[in-house]
Point group: C2
Chain length 124, copies 2
DNA sequence: TCCGTAATTAGTAATGATTACTACTTAATA
DNA sequence: TATTAAGTAGTAATCATTACTAATTACGGA
């Protein structure tokens, strides 16, 4: 993977925020530095960085993919009213006190299923 | 909330599968019983059922919302190759053995953040 | 330092999921 | 049964994301 100027700025931009932004937000932010970058380039680089393990993709039920440059494992608090995503780093914290009213907790285990491992559908 | 024929069939269809389908799959399945139902109706009913707490929405990073009529809390195994979602009911199970290779575990806490609770942005 | 070349980009078009809109229909209640 | 607000079918619109292409560029080797 080459390290183009565009890819650098996309990555740095994501590292400098803790708001778990979507591609459009990253695009707007990066344009302050690279006014001619295209939205497609932002999308492609976010995907490349995800593949490289430098960025994590966050899906939180509002039809928008969000991204996080903090790859250390941590939980997220998602507000279903404003869509905001907070980090929950400390497992001892009372989320209900610190972040808001808790309605449900979802645990998602990501990986490659047995059929795909066997069938050679394994992708990367 | 009224209990229209369409809503009944959408709900029943979702109850009769454990594949965590998306709206299109539900649409195709429901059309076997109600050939004239429209895709918009399926979407609207899935959303209504979510609001009513009878159905859960599952976001798993492939640009499609999936739905689950099993509202009892349980974890999900998501294959990043084929997109399949398995239920993980038994917390004692070795997910790596039973479902596939585990790459990451994400914990999402859903709720309403403090600002929205205070600001009257609370929505339902 | 200069080439060669494959990776990357900008710009635009296409795709695909989801929502919005409207005139018509129907479930549920009095 | 009559009323009526909720629900529906069908279609158009929206919006996030991906695909495509000709031009540009990073980077290893001469």
């Amino acid at each position: 993977m080459r390290f183009s100027r565009q890819r650098q700025v996309v990555y740095q931009t994501l590292q400098q925020t803790d708001t778990h932004p979507d591609a459009q937000w990253v695009y707007n932010k990066v344009r302050e530095v690279l006014p001619n970058i295209s939205l497609g380039t932002v999308y492609r680089n976010l995907n490349e960085l995800c593949c490289a393990g430098m960025v994590k993709r966050i899906s939180a039920s509002d039809n928008v993919e969000r991204f996080d440059a903090r790859t250390a494992s941590h939980a997220h608090f998602v507000c279903r009213c404003c869509g905001k995503i907070d980090d929950v780093f400390d497992s001892n914290v009372d989320v209900g006190e610190t972040h808001g009213t808790v309605e449900s907790v979802e645990v998602m285990v990501y990986g490659v299923c047995s059929e795909c491992m066997k069938g050679g559908n394994y992708c990367g």
